[in-house]
């Protein structure tokens, strides 16, 4: 067993583009769930419309990439309004039901043969981010420290990705520590009390839903750009649940919760994956017990176990405040 390879794989994944994508998407979810108390179970839907907004604009309609980015953002705003207008005046569970259904409906719709002329159906769309890679100022080559290295292309995606995480994080930090953030947190704790103090609860929930959704769309675009391809089945409902997992892991209602959560989630997931594969190859784990093809499923089972242990021993997540969290159990 080569421990260096395992650590190197895990580190690459923990700081790689995909961790940045999930951190971003979870930051939007954190605004919804951690700060406003909105139960959005369809964050993947926002990622989907963001990614497709970009891809469809560029590939299907031949638009410029910056136009595609605007298109993706606009799609997220429209989706948030469609989801929010009918549900945000109702009890919290209505949004939960609606979002979970919407996320899956969107995926099926985008992959349908009916939508194929525009969305590419099951095959999706490719090569829409050339403009982005043309902007890459990093000279060709491989860059690395210690056990990890990235080529110029990945380094570019990664820099932009974590740059976006930093910018969005700074904006959210400003927001939640403002009077706006105070109202939103009040809505989370008791929206009736907030209304009795003159706050237009519906408007705040809508703003939060739109903003968090737009952040999700940015994450979806980044994911699509990274592989220069969108396909409907990458936007599986499970993505939203991974986002919740890493949010709880890092600490909901903390600005850095989703960032720490995402890095750790991808580090652990890849660590387990790599370690299991090597253990099987080296014969430490009998291949009758777990075959290499089953490693993918087993590592998720282990992540689930970690999550259970976490909820038992540290329910507030790594960055959360246990006392504060217990107060929410009303």
């Amino acid at each position: 067993m080569d421990f260096e390879v395992i650590v190197s794989d895990a580190l690459r994944s923990g700081i790689g583009p995909i961790a940045a994508v999930y951190a971003l998407a979870a930051m939007g979810l954190n605004l919804h769930f951690g700060y406003t108390g909105l139960l959005n179970f369809g964050q993947v839907g926002f990622m989907l419309v963001g990614a497709y907004g970009l891809a469809v604009t560029v590939v299907t309609y031949g638009g410029a990439m910056w136009l595609g980015v605007l298109g993706g953002l606009a799609c997220a705003v429209v989706l948030a309004l469609l989801l929010g207008v009918p549900t945000l005046r109702l009890r919290a569970d209505y949004l939960a039901i609606t979002t979970i259904a919407a996320g899956e409906t969107l995926r099926l719709f985008y992959r349908s043969s009916w939508a194929e002329p525009v969305t590419g159906g099951v095959y999706g769309l490719q090569r829409f981010a050339n403009d982005f890679y043309d902007l890459n100022p990093i000279p060709r080559g491989s860059y690395g420290v210690w056990l990890v290295s990235f080529d110029a292309r990945d380094l570019w995606v990664l820099t932009v990705g974590w740059g976006l995480v930093a910018v969005v994080g700074a904006l959210l930090a400003l927001l939640v520590h403002s009077p706006w953030g105070r109202v939103v947190r009040a809505v989370r704790d008791d929206e009736t009390a907030a209304r009795s103090l003159g706050k237009n609860v519906y408007a705040y929930k809508m703003q939060s839903l739109v903003l968090g959704g737009v952040i999700g769309a940015v994450a979806g675009m980044l994911q699509a750009i990274q592989v220069q391809s969108v396909s409907p089945d990458t936007f599986d409902p499970a993505v939203t649940f991974f986002l919740y997992t890493l949010l709880v892991l890092g600490g909901a209602g903390r600005i850095l919760g989703p960032v720490v959560g995402s890095i750790l989630f991808w580090f652990l997931l890849t660590f387990l994956d790599s370690a299991l594969r090597q253990a099987i190859e080296a014969g430490y784990v009998s291949s009758e017990l777990i075959s290499t093809s089953e490693v993918g499923a087993v590592r998720f089972a282990l992540v689930g176990l970690t999550l259970i242990l976490l909820i038992v021993f540290r329910p507030q997540g790594l960055l959360g405040n246990r006392k504060e969290m217990m107060l929410s159990e009303r």
Binding site: R91, P179, V183, R185, A186, A193, S196, L197, G198, V201
Partner: protein, 312 residues
Amino acid sequence: MSAEDVPGVASPDVGVSAEAAGRLAGTVPEPGVRKPDPLLVLDRVTRSFGGLTAVRVDHLEVQRGTITALIGPNGAGKTTLFNIVSGFDRADSGRWSFAGHPLTGRPAHRVARQGLVRTFQLTRVLARLTVRENLMLAADGQHGERLLPAVMRPLWRGQERETGRRADELIERFRLQGVRDDFAGTLSGGQRKLLEMARALMARPIMVLLDEPMAGVNPVLTQSLLRHMAELRDEGLTVCFVEHDMDVVMGVSDWVAVMADGRLVAEGPPHTIGQNPAVVDAYLGKRHDEPGTAGDPGPTGSGDARAIGDEE
């Protein structure tokens, strides 16, 4: 702004309270009677739940600058009436106005912004906000509550400092200094009642509707809450509160309105209420429900929760 001088009191134009209370002296003690200077006026307000008519008030006026007690046995419709007026429940019919502006059908947050702020029978503190944040939240007209200005701190930093100063004044006034930076969810029942009253004042109301502010509170705290109410009235605030305990009502109120079975059955200065046959009937005759059994939340408590759940 003169409102800054007195924490929690909005309108500098309200008359001297003792005078206003005195002016009620000539008012005939009968249900629905007109007041010399009414702030809140209700007309033919009805609300039924299924077959049960919870509220059917023909006419009710609340005099500006006074403390008006709203009493009546459990299930009389007091909370439902508060819910309707404060925009948390819809009336089936009727109209009502506040400070000359029609208020019928206004959503709750608009009612509060007009200067009519209510508290709840079952306290509703914001558990994961600190006591100070609970208060600061309630301040009106905050620029930083809008999404775009919120990220530009210099636009609201000054106002925020002023809001914090006002919050600290109220914290001191209500003796909450010891828990100022604690999460409100950790407060005791009595502290929550204090916080809710202070928070309502932070919104600079013209009038407050307090739903059983003294329920489940120890006698010492009850006295202190009563003193606060009297002080606020003397500063010009109009107070309307629900209470079961007759002694409490006698001591502090300038005027008492009595509800039973959704109707307004009696009105008058406190000393006339005890002998009023309609009141005796409401409390003893029909329901065998002693005044002063306030501790039992019973149907009243659940009514509060249900009406609000219903509105959502």
